[in-house]
Every structure is written in C-alpha cells, then in structure tokens.
Symmetry: C2
Subunit: 226 residues, 2 copies
C-alpha cells in the first residue's frame, strides 16, 4: 500500500519506518524540501536526510505526500494540523483514509501541555479535519500512545488498548488491520468521530502518567462489564 | 468519622449511604432544607426524605454540612460547585480534607456533555476549589467512575483503577483508606492537584464508554512498565 505521511517529526518518522518495515511504500511530506530542511533536527527527531538515506522512504512536499498515499497520515503538531493539511489538494484526499494521529496540545505555558480550547468541548481536532475535508475518510488512531508504541504494541507490557474512531466503518477496518500489523491485539472502537473527543481528551492523563513514571511505556486498558 | 456531603443528587446519596454502611456519621447538605426540597426528585435520584428516613443520615444545609464534617465531600454538579461551596464558611473548611468528586460537565448542548472551557486547559475544577479555599486539603477522587462503583469497586468486574490527586499526602492517604473500605485495590496516585486535569479530562472517555456499552460498569486500568 502507498502511505503518505504529513509531518517529519518523531511521530512521522517512527510511523514511516514502521510502515516501511511492513512492506508498504512510504513518503514523508514536509512543507519545503530543501537541503537545510532535510539536515535540521526536527523537534528532537533525527534529520530527515538520515531517515531518507537509511530507510528506503522518500521525503517530498506535503502536497505530494497527500497525492501519493492511498492512505494519508496526519502526523503534524496538532495546533498546526489544519494549516499543514491545507497544503493537500482536496481532490487528493477524496475517498482516501486519512489517519489523524495528532493532538492539539498547547506547549506555550510549559509542561505539562494542555489541550487548546479551540479543539475541545463539543469538538475535536479530528472532527475539524473531517469538516475541512468532507470527502476524506478520517480515522482518529494512534494518538493516545507514544510513537514507539504506535508501531510496536509490545513497547508497553501487558494488556492495553489502542483506541480508534471514525465515521466510515471500512476505513476503521483498514486502520485496524494496519494496527494489527504493529502487534495491537486490543483495538477499542470508540464509534464515530465524536469518539475523537474522548481520545484527544486522554492526552492529559497519558502525559501525566509519563511524567509520574518518567517512562513513556504507559497506556490504559479499557474495562467493561458488557 | 464525621462526613459532610455537599449535594443531594445520586452521587451525594450513594456516597452518603456508602459511608454510613462503613459506620461513619454522615449528613447531606443542600441549599435550603424545606419540605418541598426534601420531597422532590433530584436529577433522577430519589427524594431526600426517603434517604433520610431509611439511612440513619440527616439532611442539613450546605453550610451546616461543611461545619459538621471532619471530611467534606463536594458532590454537587461541577458547573455549580464553586457557587455551592461558597455557602461553606471558609473557617469550617480550614485543615479539613475536601474530597472533590465533581466534574465540570456542560449538558447545555445535549448528549454527550463536554468539559466546560472555564475548567479546562491549564486548570481544573479541583484546582479552582483549592484556590478558593487555600486552607482546605483538596483531594480529587471518585470522579472517574459511576456512583455505584465509587462505593463498591466490584461494580465493575476485573482489574481497574481509582485515580486520586492532591497536594497533601496525608489527605490522600486518608482518602485512599476510605476508598479501600469500598473495595478499591488499585488506587493510582496522580500526584499533586495538577493531576486533576487528567482525571476530569477522563470524563469524555468514560461517558463514551458508557454510551457505547449502554452500561455504566466501565472504567480503565492504568498500564505502566515502570
């Protein structure tokens, strides 16, 4: 499958490498593909030039990545996601599964970051992306765990869950299959995209667990009687 | 122990009955103790007159409940909590453990309710209560599960967690002991009261799980490597 990942930070690179390891064709899209952009550190992630030379993937523009993918992944910073995705031609997203991995975290007041009001309440980032691209099949997924866990469920020991939400059942099935390839046994369907409110709302807990444990190998297991 | 519960709805009555069952002296505080108030349905909960006659507890004013309790419980609706607690004399809360069970949910747009912006971001209801009553020892607890589960952990089957947060370790120890009396084996300390942001932030997930399962016997288990 062709996968176009929008965003070249830690999350984008980790997912890209993960998908390449499963035999997919993968590109990472960034705003401008220049030598300086390829060589700089990206929020602590390694330079994309290094990723590109070692992985078999390619770095392209965000516009090209959206056009390339059968599946497109939003791995940008949540507060910049709508602006970044505006670089995709809407026609290039029509009918495609758009996996939204981002969280609308505001780091402007230091740690811990918090969810920006523009994306909370009776809305979520994923719903706003769906509204902006009504012909895309948005699936919220992977946003509630560390990047290493996204592509390897065993990064966190024990029984724990990956949450997904989306309006299109077939799109969720496809994302579920991709997640199973990364070792996820427990995939909790949170229903339609309104479920993304609950998933993005988990970030303060997840960050809190990480800070208290000083270890990103944290997650939750959903417990239900029925 | 003397426990004063502010709020006579389902949560307040369930906690009151639970504490009475453990041998504590319990009062429920409401705004005005009139015959009409005692006989009306309270957001679907039974009339307080029935609770009072059957339980051995008493219904008093919020002001009196705050004065009565060695431990005071905020079991009011989250959006009304600060206004309700303003009926307590600050001196009556000085040094006392104040368990905040409330969630700042906005039901004005129907289901699902959502967390009101006034209490989210880099704040929480519990922190605002602590700011308003700096001499109280606020502990956020019990807010992440159904009322029936608060007083009986086995209401939800399997291994699952009660989360608590607060600035005063001894106050958290006291609340932990009370929770153990209700059968809680897994009590997850979320650190100081900033942890209440994560706990209140769980409500959209918890409500979503309840809606999807059509069953309030839902909770989470925290999974940590360390």
């Amino acid at each position: 499958m062709k996968i176009g990942i929008i965003g070249g930070g830690t999350v984008g690179q980790t997912l890209a490498t993960g998908f390449l390891g499963k035999g997919h064709e993968v590109v990472i899209g960034i705003r401008e593909v220049t030598d300086a952009e390829l060589r700089k550190n990206r929020n602590g992630a390694r330079p994309l030039a290094d990723w590109q030379s070692g992985s078999g993937g390619r770095v392209v523009t965000m516009t090209e990545a959206a056009a390339f993918g059968d599946v497109v992944v939003n791995a940008t910073s949540g507060l910049a996601s709508l602006q970044a995705l505006a670089r995709a031609h809407p026609a290039d997203l029509t009918g495609k599964v758009l996996i939204d991995v981002a969280n609308p975290l505001d780091f402007s007041k230091g740690m811990p970051p918090f969810l920006a009001h523009a994306y909370t309440g009776d809305t979520s980032l994923a719903e706003q992306i769906q509204n902006r691209f009504p012909e895309a099949r948005v699936v919220k997924a992977f946003n509630t765990v560390a990047a290493n866990a996204m592509v390897d469920a065993a990064f966190v020991p024990g029984e724990h869950d990956l949450l997904i939400a989306g309006n299109d059942p077939a799109a969720k099935d496809l994302v579920t299959a991709l997640a199973r390839g990364f070792g996820w046994a427990n995939i909790a369907d949170m229903g339609d995209l309104v479920g993304a409110r609950a998933m993005e709302g988990l970030l303060p807990l997840w960050i809190r667990m990480w800070i208290l444990a000083n270890d990103p190998r944290v997650n939750i297991h959903l417990v239900r009687a029925a």
